[in-house]
Amino acid sequence: MPRPLSALPGSPNQARRMSTTRKVSLSVSKVSINHSKVSLSQSRTVLSRTTSGLTEGKEKVSLHHPRRHIQVFDELGNDVTPRPLFRPDPHFPGSRKPSRLLVSQDVSLGSDYAGSYTMFQNTLNPSLVGQFTRSALGSSTVSKSSASTTESMGEDLEESPYRREAVSIYVDLQLKKEVPKVLTKEELDAEVDIYLSETETLWLFNLPTVMHSIESEEAEKIKERNMLYETLCKNRAGNDLYVERVMQTFTGAPKHKEVQCDKILTEEKGIMSTTWTLYDAYNALEFPASTMKPETGKSESMLEVVRKDQDSKYLSTTDRTSENSSTIDVESIIMIKIHEEEEDRSELILKSEKFQQDLFFMERVLMENIFQPKLAAYRQLPILEGKEEEKKKEEEEEEEEEEEEEESYPQVEKVKQSEDDEDTEVTEEESVEAVEEPIPPNLERLWSFSCDLTKGHNVSSMAWNKANPDLLAVGYGQFGFREQKRGLACCWSLKNPLWPERVYPSLHGVTSVDFSIGSPNLLAVGFYNGTIAIYNVQNNNRVPVLDSSEFHQKHIGPIWQVQWVEQDRGTAGEEKREILVTVGADGRISKWVIQKGLICHDLMKLKRTSMDKQKKENEREKKSEALISRQAPGMCFAFHPRDTNIYLAGTEEGHIHKCSCSYNEQYLDTYKGHKGPVYRIAWNPFCYEVFLSCSADWGVNLWQQDDFKPYLSFYTTTHVIYDIAWSPKSSYIFAAANEHRVEIWDLHCSILDPIVVNIANPGVKFTTVLFAKNTDCILIGDSEGQVIVYELKNMPIHTESGREDAIDLLLGPEAHSI
């Protein structure tokens, strides 16, 4: 029976005694522990040697420390041995009861550790709580807890050596251990009092009970819960719901895995989205008919276009894919195509209409470039002042170049003519030099409408388009019977003086052209063989819209004039209807109406009258003169500007007949003044009483309507006068084209001489003359196929120009003197 031990550290002797008394009872465990302890101590500590003595004899545990502790001295002899981290706490509170068991064992184990250990065991030193929690707890709970903790105690006991051992390292081995005294028998028999005291209570967890009043609202619930909890606690022991288990998550073994994919091809693509691409996109959605040809592949070499007789349509349908213009990035997508397809596509490009149009524009722009000063002069635009000198040089150069260019055409006459023009005309440079002198009116040559096609043809008539003042129709055909050859009708545009816009070739010479008023796209052409044709100039079709060649009522002789006339149908109350009036050498003046084709009516049959008259006067009885025809060939006609029912007709006889549309048998009046065929009659555009006539008898006559004798005659040359024209700006000015000269007369200035005379070079005849409507220009056609545009410069300005009564003033006092 172990006696109560005194745990005083100061009594190692007692401890020793205790150990000896207890030795028997706990020998087994002690020894085992001892052995383990000692062995450990041997292995661990330097002082194991000292404890070796312990293993041999347990009775006498030499508590006396052999003082073989390490002592470190420094150079100076100071004691600098490291001190233990732990200082034994002199405070020894706490119960000894639990420690008793341990202490006894400890003491038996080793004296070295006894003191320290007891201290450890007894004291709940806060510094050691952390290290010895379990053992301390174990010791503390022995006194309090139930039996279940004994098990833990046992565990503690098992483990405590290790713990202690851990501590023992830190243990200051210098800890003085008193040498246990040998206990005498008396001392052993003496009763020792052991006092146990309770240690302080360490609160580790405190869950105070919560009290609720029975009368509270939740009382019932709480009671239920309490009941449930109690049943739960009762059932807890063997309940499957509450099983203590330990879980361990298995961490899977990681494994490296490598994956390699194909290289991802990246391509950069950019599109710029602009306002118009969006617009195109929306439009394309609305109009999916627009197609776009796919782009061709790039080729480094330049393509020589090989003409292939392939069906281009087939190619175009297969190649066309409808793509949105906004989605196509021109530089990005390159499709590889075969060489042939590229060539075909370029063929297509060349054939496309757009290309043609572009070429058209390009040509016009070029012309504009070249002819810019001329056109500016034509349109009476001011030529830029700043570049005056350069302009002059340019003009000079241009003129020279034009001359050179004209030389390229194998036409000698042109060059001569241009030189001649320059000689005769007063050029701008000269005019600028001689500023002070009054400059007489002159013609300045601007340019000429001419090209290879028209070379060699005789210009027979010219007419302006009624709607587009820049469009000019020129008819080419020979006048004489023997010189007949193929003819030509061309439409020229001011914007391109070097190539006609429309070319209508024909078998027969063209004698007259005129544009329609009502439908300005219709061009009526009269031929030498008596047929008329109506062309539509809107398209480039060379086939006439209407042709009179199959009419039985067509003219038999050459048609000398065609004119579109707007006639009032006053009686019927309809609108103005436009008719085409033609006069032919067969002596008929007929009107043509376009109603489902051409319908022809005869307005007048020109009968010979002079013969009758001559007969009457000279040879009344002579009837032997055989008339080939009773018709007098009509050469020209002119409708009254106001009254479209009245017209004048000139015949080959030299008579001018005034006729009316209402009567197709009788003349109203006859004006006899010419001795040769009357080639042209022209009413004065301002004064409706006056008209001009020119004839092959070298003369121009000015008539007044009521007078049957010419009022004024102009016989200045000995050449046939082919054409006359009134100036649209002044009622005094008219132009006359005879074979060698073009004369411009100003009646206000002089009635004897023309104010301007333009001489042609030899070999070239001037055949037609036409005034330009809005500008001061005159067009002169000659027998070489040229239509030359002249600008009238320094024309005298009359304040009375344009007044209707102006010429009456002129004629006034002499009007009635015949």
Partner: protein, 97 residues
């Protein structure tokens, strides 16, 4: 087709015209009267400029379109007639004095 050829020839033979070129949509010359290096150079440069000009015009008003482009310099003048879109663009370039 013949008319096109004729017109092209007429323009080429015009006085003051140094050369003409027909270029397709990507800037590859189809026809030219100039030498190779000049053609390629002009084609490339003008293509870009024309596209830019067209883009400018259409940005201002999408319903509008570029009809003609003229570049006047000290020595020459370059004229470019681009085509309306939706059809492979052709460009002509001629340089009169």
């Amino acid at each position: 087709m013949a008319e096109v050829e004729e017109t092209l020839k007429r323009i080429q033979n015009h006085k003051g015209v140094i050369g003409t070129m027909v270029v397709n949509a990507e800037g590859i010359p189809i026809r030219t009267t100039l030498d190779n290096s000049t053609t390629v150079q002009y084609a490339g440069l003008l293509h870009q400029l024309t596209m830019k000009a067209k883009s400018t015009v259409r940005d201002i008003d999408p319903q509008n379109d570029l009809t003609f482009l003229r570049i006047r310099s000290k020595k020459h003048e370059v004229m470019v007639a681009p085509e309306v879109p939706l059809i492979p663009c052709n460009r002509k370039c001629s340089s009169p004095l």
